[in-house]
Amino acid sequence: MSDIAERVKKIVVEHLGVEEGKVTDTASFIDDLGADSLDTVELVMAFEEEFGIEIPDDAAEKILTVKDAIDFISSKQG
């Protein structure tokens, strides 16, 4: 697993209080991991802080799964 994927999953585990095993690439924050809309806003903020990037609102709206987050951050850090 890439370093980015590991860090993303660690943040998800911490913020949503879910078991590590549930945080698969395809897991949806809202449908599978019990997040609400405010949780997803906070998750995006945590990604910004961790990776030192800015995620615009229109991009944030498309980050629905763990893989979406990893892909977006990877593209930024490319």
């Binding site: 913020h15 405010l38 903020m45 802080e49």
Partner: protein, 423 residues
Amino acid sequence: MRRVVITGLGLVTPLGTGVEHSWKQLLDGKSGIRAIDTFDVSDLPAKIGGMVPRGDGTNGTFNPDLTVPTKDQKKMDDFIIYGVAAAAEAVKDSGWEPQTEEDRERTGVMIGSGIGGLSSIYETSLLLAEKGPRRISPFFIPSALINLVSGHVSIIHGFKGPNHSAVTACSTGAHAIGDAARLIMWDDCDVMVAGGAEAAINRLGVAGFAAARALSTGFNETPEKASRPYDKDRDGFVMGEGAGVVVLEELEHAKARGAKIYAEVVGYGLSGDAHHITAPADDGNGGYRSMAMALKRAGMTPADIDYVNAHGTSTPLGDLIELGAVKRLFGEALNTASMSSTKSATGHLLGAAGAIEAIFSVLAIRDQQVPPTLNLDNPSDECAGVDLVPHKSKKRRVRAALSNSFGFGGTNASLIVKEYTGS
């Protein structure tokens, strides 16, 4: 009018977590006041407070993890966590678990706070100045809003009845209980979870109350002696934090399910001083009228009251003004009543004070024992002839108790609770 009784109690106070623990500490004459050690007080004139003792949850310590999952704690300021914890204890104590949709819709919540999420507001303001708006948590606003104690309690327990919140500074807890009882009397619901919660002991809160010259500053080296209502050396109040929550229930509803009944809420009075934003009117007229209104509502005379839980915050002015009002209203009936200020042990819990003191009044009736006024070494001259229960709790007959709460803005509330004898 439908009658309202108290069937559940919950407390988180500087004396500890849990009704029985807090009450025992209070009766034993223990103080919950200590030096503030969680933030820098070096430049603050008041360096002490009544903080809720934290720990693993045993021996009366407060462990937030036992109340709210860790991941959700960031969504709640401490005042909400205290309120949720006290509500959980009260609901459990009452045994009320609504099973039907109608039962849930007939159960409401009214838990207020004087200030709400001051710590969240303070810390988030610092973050905003330092890092800008993009770092502000989406949970900031709901963690600071006063009515979110009622909101969380409703969500956690599924209570779908009236969802409300009193905000009247230091009268909040008493107003919440009094107004919630009225909702039951008016048949808007059968059960109300009501009270107050506060957690404003931070640099901003202490600096603010100190600037208003409201806080004790002369006992920083001996914190347990700082809250000394009616004593000649009193020099201001000590901030406290925590929550008090009761379950109020329509009498027949409580009887039908065989609930334990602690006491009946028989009197509630409210008034405004129309005088000053922080100082009480010199003649104590507002407090006098709120007590008189509560007695009238209860159909009682002062001779029916055996215990007065005073507002008594330990300020030079306020204590004597309240005492004067009680003396005028009670007249000779004060010769046989006892009056104490439990703030001498807990400090002033602001929006939670009226609720925890209503609970102490209920427990005085349950145990026929009145809690003491600590540190009353040299009572002010005006106290002569009044039993202020100095230093030690006292066993005595308590048929009914009156609890006073007076708040900034000149807002006054008095509650009367009476023993329930089955008739």
